[in-house]
Symmetry: C2
Subunit: 113 residues, 2 copies
DNA sequence: AAAATATACCTTGACAGGCGAGGTAACGTG
DNA sequence: CACGTTACCTCGCCTGTCAAGGTATATTTT
């Protein structure tokens, strides 16, 4: 089962930031990493990915630079900024809060089927 | 900390269905129940609530009828249909799947701060 | 008696994020 | 040389959220 867009909505940027905590990376690779981590149950669509990069860079959460590949397609690498790290912490806490609340709202009903 | 709209997006209908599993209810009360269950960290905005009811009724997940109050404001009660119960099961499973995946994507990075 | 608050419903229009569809370009393989 | 893979990007639509506004009745406060 793959997960639908609206379930992931709002998490895209946090997921990207989490990826960049590990190391600088570029769009294509980040997307492959996400697919691998989720056993291909979820993938960021390219349009979603690149618009998210744009927002994150505009808000100062990430910075970018061109890689110096001497073969193959050019790559734009992204790095997380100190501001981005703070944002990541905030958003991952928000996720943990939301997760518990949504669980309570959805699953409590489920006990009564 | 209250949770933002985009984190809840896509869960609204599932949350409403979960509420209606317990018993028939009406908009105002459902909203109050949600606030109570989340210690007022989350509330459905009225516009969101009523558009969700509309979608759920159009898709056959719920049905509605007017209550026969002899005092106070009129109430439109909603009941979950068999189709709605099936939808609830599907969506709550989707939530459980998504929850694990999002956790993996967001929190794995967090271990490396 | 008037004003304020709570209960209870509903619609309109704007906004933002996701993404389908389309485009560009370099490289490797058959 | 065609095709698949890597790799980037943009435009415009769609959909769910919600601020703002509206209606109506009952209770509580001033």
């Amino acid at each position: 089962m793959s997960i639908t867009a609206d379930l992931i909505r709002g998490h895209t940027e946090t997921i990207i930031l989490a990826q960049l905590l590990e190391q600088d990376s570029y769009g294509y690779k980040i997307n492959k990493a996400i697919q691998a981590k989720t056993d291909h149950k979820y993938e960021l669509k390219e349009a979603t990915l690149y618009t998210a990069f744009k927002r994150l860079e505009e808000s100062g959460c990430i910075s970018s630079y061109w890689g110096d590949e001497n073969s193959g397609a050019r790559r734009r690498y992204y790095a997380i900024t100190p501001h981005g790290r703070r944002e990541y912490l905030i958003r991952s806490e928000e996720w943990n809060t939301a997760k518990v609340l949504i669980d309570r709202l959805i699953t409590d009903g489920g006990s009564q089927i």
